[in-house]
């Protein structure tokens, strides 16, 4: 177990923890909005932005790539809204259209970068499944700054976001614009997804937003405790997943984190079932 004290491993663990906390916090708001699959759209939508940023800047600096990822994630979520409001395509088809086109664009750009043989392009293909082990110190600092920004914004505007989510009409009367705060939620989701791409991978990032939120929802009916619980579940799942993936060589991080988070969901379901049976037995006696 000596690798537990290895500074590289601790750094990776810290990075994963930061990514999962912001993802699982924003995931609750998407879940309550019945918009949980937006994470999937954002994660696939990030790819073209990342590759464009790489093509323009020529560096693999995480802050720069995250900027590209956030922007193209936002463009995808705007496109989904535009398609739903302007055409007769339903919301789920709109999402599917945007995410598959963006993924296709990402693959085209990646194949273009690979055949152009640009310098320091190593690791760009890791973005699909995530490779947290490649995280450097400056990456962790970038992730920490951005996820702190996400937490602060959520903390400051928590009441207003809650109002907009549960009673948009009343919020409008109170002078809290639902449009602005919905856009804020999408932006924060895009930032959280963008910083997580390197860790969890574009394909599985959606699970980091959904699984902890769904697990927390089983335990509570209130938004505040749900967010806190979701962060706790996210941290446990993320930590366990990182441990599992670093125990064996060449294991991708994202899949293990997802499996651990779903494991927590399964345990929660079992526990809630058992407590329900107990309650039923008691009421019979």
């Amino acid at each position: 177990m000596s690798f537990l004290l290895n500074p590289v491993f601790l750094l990776v663990l810290l990075g994963v923890a930061l990514v999962t906390t912001s993802a699982s916090a924003i995931g609750c708001f998407l879940y309550v909005q019945r918009n949980a699959l937006l994470g999937e759209t954002l994660a696939h939508g990030c790819l073209p932005g990342i590759y464009c940023a790489f093509l323009i800047g020529g560096t693999r600096n995480l802050l720069w790539l995250t900027l590209g990822a956030t922007l193209s994630g936002l463009v995808s979520s705007l496109l989904v809204d535009l398609i739903v409001s302007k055409t007769r395509v339903s919301r789920d088809a709109g999402m599917a259209v945007v995410l598959s086109s963006m993924f296709g664009l990402g693959v085209v750009l990646l194949s273009f970068i690979q055949q152009a043989d640009l310098p320091n392009q190593n690791g760009l293909e890791d973005l699909f499944f995530g490779n947290a082990a490649a995280m450097s110190k400056s990456d962790v600092i970038t992730i920490a700054t951005l996820s702190a920004f996400v937490w602060m914004t959520l903390f400051v505007f928590f009441r207003k976001i809650q109002l907009v989510l549960f009673d948009p009409d009343f919020a409008e009367i109170q002078g809290v614009s639902p449009t602005v705060f919905r856009a804020l939620i999408s932006t924060l989701a895009a930032v959280s997804v963008a910083i997580g791409i390197q860790t969890a991978g574009a394909i599985l990032m959606a699970a980091l937003l959904i699984a902890p939120a769904a697990t927390a929802r089983l335990w509570t009916n209130r938004l505040g405790p749900m967010v806190l619980l979701s962060i706790v579940f996210g941290l446990i799942g993320g930590g366990l997943g990182t441990l599992c993936s670093s125990a064996a060589p060449k294991m991708p991080t994202g899949p293990w984190v997802v499996v651990c988070m779903t494991g927590l969901f399964g345990i929660s379901v079992l526990l809630s079932r058992i407590s329900r049976w107990k309650a039923r037995l008691k009421s019979r006696i």
Binding site: Y31, R34, N35, A36, L37, G39, E40, I83, K86, T87, R88, V89, S90, D92, A93, M95, A96, V97, L99, S100, S101, M102, F103, G104, L105, G106, V107, V108, L110, S111, F112, Q115, E125, F128, F129, I203, L204, A206, A207, I210, A211, A213, A214, R217, L218, A248, K250, M251, P252, G254, P255, W256, V258, V259, T262, F265, V269
Partner: protein, 286 residues
Amino acid sequence: MIAFYIILVASLVAINGAVLGSFMMLRRMSMMCDAIVHAVLPGLVIAYLITTSRGSIAMMAGAIGSGILATAIIEYVQFKIRISSEASIGLTFTTLFSIGIILLARFAGQVELDQDCVLFGELAYVPLDLWITDGGTNMGPYPVWSLGLLTLAVLVFTLIGFRPLLLATFDSQFAEQSGTQVRLWHYALMLMVSLFTVTSFHSVGAVMVMGFFILPPATAYLLSKNVKSLIALACVIGVACVILGYFLAFYFNVSIAGAIIVLNGFTFGITAISQSFKRIRLKTAS
């Protein structure tokens, strides 16, 4: 001949995807396509590890098994645990896909599938995947045959299932009262979708299959007024994008499947914009 085979295989994928995708879109289950496309992976890997032969019946059975399992789990999570439908979709397919990827990473080297193949497919290598009989006759590439069989299956499925599926889609209560097995047809459609995914993913990649499913029907949906014309138009758009996309990819030297999907997305965008302009013009004219 190389170009011909690639275009033929991609067109077959596009046609089958357009037909099945139209039904899925009308049933408002486009994101279920995304789920199944990811969820067939663990079944595929497990079947491969057991039989160690590629393109076998076992692999198809594995993929169909895990596709159907995913459908069942999603319904269970949604209705029994009362998690909202999109969250149950997101939770289920990411987990199944993760299990598949972990198995791939664990048994890397023993499995002929690798992560790149799962993601992007190898459309450019289709002409190399030849089927040579014991007598030594060259029968052409494997995928042409498997996709040809799939097209037949999809054709038969559509002919038999057209009316019951539409009935189940548009008025499920009436369908049930008039004796249509709504749930049976639902699972039959999921079975076809899994079958389609496993047959075509060697050629275009598991995640890219999604685009072949979704994009042509979505574009056709903007333009057509009834289901038959929707399916026909989706097939035409799909094949047109395959042919154009192949030459674009060839010209710019990029991923063929990717170029086809981008072109499909572009077609959807142009159609949507021109449709909304038309609507504005009609409004101002009236």
